[in-house]
């Protein structure tokens, strides 16, 4: 079954600093990969997705992610973090149940002044 792993449970960065959140996938063929963000008390919002083609994907809110087959990774990046980026971030891949997604356990981002 396709799965993703997010190695970092918590990440703390200073406002204005760069950010990279890690996601590793487990799948032989090219996976379908997603990054979602969940602000406190809210549902999940799609940041970006990768299906094929250009390995550098641009998303909303200034985020980007790069698909690296050699490292089985799909890391999320942002060059300069804002306090409003504090949230929970989930990596996901197409699930074994067809249309469902398999989510990682999430990375909680704290932004300090």
């Amino acid at each position: 079954a396709q799965s993703v792993t997010q190695p970092d449970i918590h990440i703390t960065v200073s406002e204005g600093a760069s950010l990279e959140l890690r996601c590793n996938y487990s799948y032989g063929a090219t996976p379908y990969l997603f990054w979602y963000v969940q602000s406190p008390g809210q549902g999940l919002q799609l940041l970006l997705k990768y299906f094929s083609g250009d390995t550098l994907v641009q998303g909303i809110k200034g985020f980007e992610a790069e698909f690296k087959r050699s490292q089985s990774s799909f890391n999320l990046r942002k060059p300069s973090v804002h306090w409003s980026d504090a949230a929970e971030y989930f990596c996901a891949t197409g699930g074994s149940s067809g249309y469902a997604l398999n989510f990682g356990k999430g990375t909680s981002l704290l932004v300090t002044p």
């Binding site: 379908y32 997603f34 809210q42 919002q45 197409g94 067809g98 249309y99 469902a100 997604l101 999430g106």
Partner: protein
Amino acid sequence: DVKVTQSSRYLVKRTGEKVFLECVQDMDHENMFWYRQDPGLGLRLIYFSYDVKMKEKGDIPEGYSVSREKKERFSLILESASTNQTSMYLCASSLGTGPGTDTQYFGPGTRLTVL
């Protein structure tokens, strides 16, 4: 914009009660999903539906059932609520463009507490 609404943001129920969580989407999506979110466990799929009256079990269906009588509405039912079902419940919908590629749109969630 796709809008997925859930009937309650917060719900408190007693052990043994029958609980209904309602979800409505307004974009004529084929697929609808119920997830459960717990700290340290991420999101886990309970059930999903790919058409009216059609459903499939997800990873953790025990203790839950679902109903989809109309395309826009997907209900999660806890037949006899237990304290270990205290959790955040998230509903999602997707267009149905293809397995694994479908973007899912989420509701705001219902935080259920079972006493």
